[in-house]
Symmetry: C2
Subunit: 145 residues, 2 copies
């Protein structure tokens, strides 16, 4: 649904602006790239994507990613590859992944995440604030078996 994408993009740009960032072209295109993508992307993926390749430098994308993570509009994932992965983070949406330990393929999981109730418990017991979680399953995919 295009309208859904547009809605998310508008929300993201507005939120960034509210939190002190400038509305630049690079920002709009980077957010669009992430929102459109079904899978987490690396800095290399993003800076070489069609939408950004000729628009701005890789370092600009790098710094922009950092600002967007800081403003909690996107999320940085700690997968096992050497490069960091980034994914759009819509409020209260939980993204879990299934990763192949051989070929590195990443599949989003659409499951009822049982961790959310735990989050509150952990928050109470630990004193940590602003909690979110990251859940990944690793294994060998059928193609690699």
């Amino acid at each position: 649904m295009t309208s859904d994408i547009q809605e998310r993009l508008d929300w993201a740009v507005q939120t960034c602006s509210d939190r002190g960032l400038r509305r630049t072209n690079a920002m709009r295109h980077l957010l669009k790239e992430l929102i459109t993508s079904k899978k987490p992307k690396t800095l290399a993926d993003l800076s070489e994507s069609e939408g950004l390749r000729d628009l701005c430098d890789r370092v600009t994308v790098f710094r922009l990613l950092g600002r967007l993570v800081e403003k909690k509009v996107i999320r940085r994932l700690g997968f096992h590859e050497r490069a960091a992965y980034y994914v759009f983070s819509y409020p209260d949406e939980c993204n879990d992944y299934l990763v192949c330990t051989d070929c590195g393929k990443i599949e989003p999981l659409n499951i009822a995440c049982p961790v959310e109730t735990l989050e509150e418990e952990v928050m109470k017991n630990s004193g940590f604030s602003g909690l979110y979680h990251e859940l990944e399953f690793y294994g060998q995919c059928p193609a690699c078996a």
Copy 2:
């Protein structure tokens, strides 16, 4: 309990040997270091630890870690730091962590992990085999707040 550590060390060395690795001194000390440690450690942590510092080169530890991961005796964690973390992995033990997004402090979580039942379901639906999971909570620790 020292006997518990010894038991794990024996299991680990034996398992490595069964899976084709040679019983080297570096292997024994690296495993001991990981088994004794309560927290995940980086390559730098390990190669500079008292047990390994004067025993072998950093590159040897690096290659050894790779072999141990491959033989499924230890596990590599994809935290958010630049360096990879490694942790001893005893069969059927699940290790979840609480990580501070500001200072990077890592705390092991001793909670009943609700994900284990999901693992089978994911395995069935996806066709992936040899599944395990990684669960981390991120937030701001009391000291950083």
